[in-house]
Each structure stands twice: as C-alpha cells, then as structure tokens.
C-alpha cells in the first residue's frame, strides 16, 4: 500500500531524506518536519549542513548541536498550535570526540587516542564517521523521547552510502585480522614499538613497512590497540544503529531534481539502499518546472503570437514595444515549456521506479527564490502534503 508523507511521519520515529548533492534535501527535510508539526507532532529536523538560511527562515539565531525550538508565536502565525518544530545541526567533530570520551576506559587511553596522529586524521577523514556520529546523536534523541519524529538530512548520495555503512566499517577496522596481527602480540608485550620491530620478519608487515616506513605502522598499531578498547562500545552501538536504520523505525525518502543525471543517480542510490535492507517509501521530485495547463497546446500555431502584440498595445503598451514584447513573451514561454517537457521526460524513470515499489511521488515546483522564510517553506510543505492531482 502506498504511504503518504503524513502517514510516514506518523508511523516512524525517524524519516531519513537521501539524495545526491544539490537536490535540496535540507529544505525538503525542514518542510517534512514542518508538516509533521502541523499534524500535532513534536518534530525535529537534524541537518548536517550549516543551513544558515534555514535558521534565519525559522527565526532561529543559528543552528547548533542542541535542538533549537521555533518560537510558539511563529508557529502559531502559520496555524500550528499543537505541534512543535525544532532544528539542529550536527557538530560532527565534537560528537566523534565525544564517542571516544564515552567509550574510553580511562583518561589515559582517551588522551593517547586524541594525541595519536592517525586518530587526528581519522576523526576528520574516516569516510562516514561524521555521519556515524549523526546516528549516535539521532539515537540519543530518540531515546530521550523529546520528539515524536526526527527528520534526518543526510550528506550527498555517495557519502550517504558511506554513512549507512560507516558502523560496519569502524567495527571492521578494529576487528580485522590484520589489526589483530598487528596489535595483539604488541599488546601482550606491553612495549608496542619494540615488539612491532621484531615482527618485521613477517612478510606482510615487511611489505607494508618497506613502503610506509616504520613510524606509520607504530602509530597505526597504537591507534588500533587503543581503539580496540573502544570496539566493544562501538560494536554495540553499530548494532544498535543498524537496527535503528534498517529495523523498521526509519523510513527513507529519496529526493531528486530534474538535472542531468540526477534521476539516474537517485535510482542507483535507491537500489543500493534496497540491498542494505532499507526500503524507499517515498520519492520527492524537487525544483520541477510545472505548468497548471498544457503549454505546448498553443505553440504550434505561430500566428497566435503575432496577435499577442496588438493585444498588449490595446492594454496600454507603447506601440513601439509591440514586437519586442510579443517576441520576449514567446521566447520566455517556449523556453519554459521546453523545461516543463524536459523535466517530465527526465523524471519519468524515477516515477516508474517509485510506482513499481509502492513509494509515493511528490512534485515540488521550482521556486523563484531560495527559501528565506517560513512562508516559502509552507509552499513546499503544501506541495508535499497536499499535492495537486496530476
């Protein structure tokens, strides 16, 4: 049975918005949360983007690492009485350090991890780790019970997959056989560096050392060793996060735009999600050029345009501008009609994909301005929740 955005938000504590870069995920996530609030929910939109504009639009001073509620009066002015809407941005670096603090056995381990040169780069660069932290925070927020629904804005698609796979990868690192080889003898010896040097007789390490140099392996071993202490914690969290994402609490909504290649990327992403066990429940086509009436109808009869000039002059246009006005109107409208046609053609495969999988499809028109205020956000909300019949 095909869900609706309203039902999805009602039935899931987490709704995750995925899609490639530049399709407007942050704004769509906010509009979904706004719609949930209008239906009486305490809703939170959690973004990974600084989204200053979104904060401004919501009347918030800025987005920080804690939920910021939109003022009651602001929501009241939009007709929202029972629900609430909050927004926050993830401080990925901070959260990752927090994880280390949480899982480290003692202050010495913690400080050694923070000082390890590999960690210093890992916490920034480990693909998906920042997003993993995102799930940590989501988990914490779900557990707190403060919100009925959390709408999660994700990083662009390639990295969205990193994000979904990050827990496995983290655990995979500390669990890997090579890590055990590298770490355990050293661990039993207590003196890491010395033991590793002696292990230089093993071909695998000889190979790595010949290329990487000795210091790197030592740092890596230390990192793995220290991280292993944390791995129980990470493993438990990873299982939990996987359950949270793929165990039915989370609904995935796929966003795509009509730009070249965006629909193909979206379908590839949805297929990948499917493999991971996450069903895409809805598709949002954003920034479409839509027309309330078929535009191509009149375009075949070109003399219709020659009648437009005199009509405009009859309405008060300076006669010398007659031809320029008709020509400009024609160019704009034919251009727009071409966009409408092209957007429909390009997004069709995704619409068919959604229909085959019983996912809902919503079309959001391209807006003349970027979203700067809640009124504009309400426009998007209504395109999502009260779609025009197509």
């Amino acid at each position: 049975m095909i869900a609706t955005p309203a039902r999805l938000l009602e039935e899931h504590p987490i709704v995750t918005c995925v899609g490639s870069g530049g399709v407007g995920k942050t704004t769509l996530s906010a509009a979904l949360a706004l719609g949930a609030a209008r239906r009486g929910a305490n809703a939170l939109v959690l973004t990974i983007d600084p989204a200053k504009r979104l904060a401004d639009a919501m009347g918030l001073a800025g987005l920080g690492p804690e939920p910021e509620p939109v003022a009651r009066e602001t929501l009241g002015a939009l007709g929202i009485r029972d629900g609430s809407l909050s927004a926050m941005m993830l401080d990925t670096k901070r959260t990752f350090d927090d994880l280390v603090r949480r899982f480290a056995r003692d202050a010495t381990t913690r400080d050694r991890i923070f000082e390890n040169p590999i960690y210093q780069h890992v916490s920034d660069a480990l693909a998906g780790s920042s997003e993993y932290s995102a799930m940590e925070k989501v988990d914490e927020l779900v557990a707190s019970g403060a919100f009925d629904v959390i709408v999660l804005d994700t990083p662009p698609s390639q990295h969205a997959l990193d994000f979904l796979e990050a827990p496995e990868r983290l655990v995979g690192l500390v669990d890997s056989r090579i890590a055990r080889h590298l770490v355990h003898p050293a661990m039993s010896a207590g003196r890491l560096g010395l033991r590793l040097l002696q292990r230089g007789t093993e071909p695998l390490f000889r190979v790595i050392e010949r290329i990487s140099g000795m210091g790197f392996l030592e740092d890596l071993a230390e990192f793995l060793l220290l991280f292993e202490e944390l791995s129980e914690g990470f493993r438990a969290r990873a299982d939990h996060v996987r359950e949270l994402l793929f165990g039915g609490s989370t609904a995935f909504v796929l966003a795509a735009g009509p730009g070249r290649g965006q629909v193909e990327q979206a379908i590839a992403l949805a297929d990948r999600l499917d493999e991971l066990g996450a069903r895409t429940r809805g598709v949002i086509l954003n920034r479409l050029r839509l027309s309330p009436e078929p535009l191509v109808r009149g375009l075949a009869r070109s003399d219709a345009w020659t009648e437009l000039g005199p009509a405009l002059v009859a309405g008060g246009l300076e006669p010398r501008l007659e031809r320029a006005a008709a020509e400009t109107a024609r160019r704009c409208i034919e251009g727009y009609a071409e966009y409408v046609r092209r957007d429909a053609v390009r997004t069709e495969p995704l619409v068919r994909w959604a229909e085959a999988g019983d996912a809902f499809v919503r079309r959001v028109p391209e807006l003349p301005r970027d979203v700067h205020d809640l009124d504009t956000l309400c426009h998007i909300e209504s395109a999502l929740f009260d779609p025009m019949p197509t």
Binding site: A125, S176, G213, M214, G215, F216, A325, D370
Partner: protein, 328 residues
Amino acid sequence: MAQPLPSPAQLEPLLGRRLIVVTGKGGTGKTTVSAALALGAAARGLRVCLVETGRDEEIPRLFGEAEPPVGHAGRQLRCGPTVMKMEPYAALAEYLRLQLRIPGLVTRLLDQPGFHALLDAAPGWRELITLGKVWHLLQPPPSSDEHIDLLIVDAPATGHGLTFLDVPSVVVSAVRTGPLQRHAGWVEEMVKDPERTLLLPVTLPEELPVRETLELLARARDDVGIAIDRIVINATEPEPVPSELLDLPERLAALPSSPDGLPSPATLAHCVRHRLERAALHRDAINELRKGTDLPFVLLPNLDVDGGGRGVLEKLASTLLESGEPLP
C-alpha cells in the same frame, strides 16, 4: 584602489598547465566542464588524459562513446582525449608492484581479507593513490608517444574534493619516514606547484553553490596551497527580458484573454515572471561571488536544453578556451 579585474582573455592560458583538477559542488556540471576542456585541448593538438574519480563512468557517455567501458587502463576515444576511470585498488596494486617488484608477494598481500578490511577503514588511501597515479602519469614515459601534455582530473565533489587534495600533506605529516612519506611529498609538491597545477572550480549562479565556492577558495588557499586563477560559472543565461519590458508579466496578466491558441494570461505571466525571477537570482548570486573574490569569472551558457552531446561540449570548450589560447 579598485584595479580592473583581469578578464579571462588576459589570463595565463589554461592549457599551459600539466594538471587541471576540476572541482565543484555536486550538480554544478564539473564533469561536463572536464569533458569540454579535454575535448577542446585535444582539438588544439594536445595529448590529453581525462581521469574520472566517481563511482561510475560518465565521461565516455558524454562523448557518445560509452562502449566498451574505458576502465582503469583507459582508452583513447575517437574524439581525441584518452579517458580513464580511476580504480583505487588497481592503482594500489600497480604501486605495490612498482615498489616491491615481487609480483607473488603483492598478490598475496592484496588477497589477504584482513588487508581489505584495513583498507576499507583506512582514511585517505584512495585519494592518495589516485593522486599518486596522476603524478605517475605525468612523469616522462619510457617512449615519447605515451607522453601526456595535459591531465585533467574530474575530482570528487567539493567538501570531499578538498579532502582529496589535502591528503598528501596529511600523509607527509602523519607518516614519519620511508618511501610512502617521500612519495606523498612528491605528490604534495605537484599539487602545490602553480606552474604545473591548477584547481578549476565550477559553480552555478545560485546561492548555495556560490557559498560553497567561497569556502572552497579559502580552504584551497589556506589548507592546500593549490593555485586557482579563475572560476567557471556554469549554466548562466542571458537577460530574458529587455529592460524596457520588465513590467511584461503584469501586462500579460492584465489581458482580458489570450489570443486563440495561447495559454491563459495568468500562465503567460507566470512563465515570463519565472524567467525574470530566475535571472534576478542568478544576478544576486554572481554579485555575491564577486564580493568574496577578485578572481576572474568564465561564464558558460546554459546549454542543458540543447540535449547534450558533442556539439554542446564543443561550444563549452570554445568559451572555456576562447581568446588567448595559443596553439602549442
């Protein structure tokens, strides 16, 4: 104090470099720009190699030569450029073979399941090996007919695109000794050499891409030290309405009816207004970018509606390379 900004025509020719890294937010068309640049350079007689770093091969399709896939080995396309799809695992195997010269050992290493787990979790090695391969491709080859004049990298989207370029210096600082440190140093030197290497940011005349471009400029300067000498603004459109007719939407909306066969006055007005508002948005975004940087802009027309293909790429190439691109 305000000096006239250099126009693109007064710039160092793009084609004087050995390496151009094309970067930008997802959806800005950086792959199209990379392809156009490669096509234009090849048409001017350069031996061009274009490197894809994304998950899938896109560029051969843009040239209408998608089959067979180019793969990591690369293939010279009929239209001129050689295109290769960077496969980090393949590049790593090549690197290890060069370093170790014991093929059996490399195979054994790569077959270790633990080694894969370690690699999957290890940050930065894909980026490093990708740049390492790029460096290697630019070294003098054993025979002169394999020489590459210009290598163009279609880099990962920004955000991640810059992480891509900082990796060598990160490795140089994280790894204390040994060949890896030395090799990362060579790659870092290549990235930072303004004579050889240029970062070409591609953006759109829209708020978010512009903001991201300004962040990119700051990070490229402060964190990476890679040269940037111009910004490509893609998909720009000419002013849709002459200045005397800015009230055209209102005039159309006020018509009692449309001539037979045309959409309603409200729809006519909507379409013209839409174009006007988009144009204003684009203008604002370009002004915003102008406030944040003195670099010259290269404006590319929006040719998206033309349906793509070689013709579009050739038009873009001529704008990218127009005036001041001497034949080599």
